[in-house]
Symmetry: C2
Subunit: 191 residues, 2 copies
Amino acid sequence: MAGNTKERLLDSSGELFRRQGYMGTGVKQILAEAGAPFGSLYHHFPGGKSDLGAETVRRSGFLYGLLLGEFAGPEVELAGGIRAFFAGAAGTLRETDYADACPIATVALEVSSSDEEMRQACADVFNAWIEGGTARFELAGIPHARARTLVIQMLAALEGAFVLSRALRSTEPVELAGEASVASIEAALAA
Amino acid sequence: MAGNTKERLLDSSGELFRRQGYMGTGVKQILAEAGAPFGSLYHHFPGGKSDLGAETVRRSGFLYGLLLGEFAGPEVELAGGIRAFFAGAAGTLRETDYADACPIATVALEVSSSDEEMRQACADVFNAWIEGGTARFELAGIPHARARTLVIQMLAALEGAFVLSRALRSTEPVELAGEASVASIEAALAA
């Protein structure tokens, strides 16, 4: 049961961070969403909110990173997989009333200049995505340096498109970012 | 003097939003930074923090939008101007210890699902950037629909690169996003 409470706390904070960020999410709200007693927070996360926050970022980031593998696994043609990944992101935005985009971008912007432990957790997630993506692009025959560049450009396009799409309540930025990323990947595959 | 106090409040909140977002910025901190008395906030912004917040977003967004004209005015070759714009963004990140990036992206992510007035202010700014950028790209001879697509892709790349660069404390994402944007613009100019 202890494990379940910890999981529920991480799930709730992950969902709340995704929608409203870290600064706007209070400990009370996390506990209420998780249906967890107050004492459970400090039992599982002795450092309190920042402790829970850093683990939430690492966990949400890891789970989101798995999505790339689900859409663009080694058995799938790379450009088609990336196209499906962006289409899936656009679909999720529409289905969730533009709430569910990247699980850590809001937090990353909030903490980058103010909370070094949280910033490092976000940096670790982004680095893991860059490493994992680069490995996948290399599997498709793209040389390492080019693969890494393409992955960073694709992640930047995706994250920025989420900023625009959520504010504009339109999937157009995500769709156009996907087109740009797919075009770059196809050019690299043809080279 | 009243005008000066209002300007100082908007300058202070703009600077604080850029570094730490909207949710993490308290009214007391804005007043202290601005050296303004408590009563001045409700005198100039009867709706309080959200009123000041929305005007800060519109003002910061307008001022940041002017930067594109400064780097890539009509007298400048477009691709070279965009290259200089991204180089300037990377330089500012380095000089400000990765604090100063986009003045409204953090706020946009925080409020998009929780504060409709603030979300609309962010959307208005992004739409103004898209319109202004599209007009500039058309001046360079790129057809309207292609120009608009390129501007949205460039803004997405820039915003997402800021997320990555601030968290990673590296200008590499901004530099690579700039390279991708410049390459797309050059391809459109050559077409």
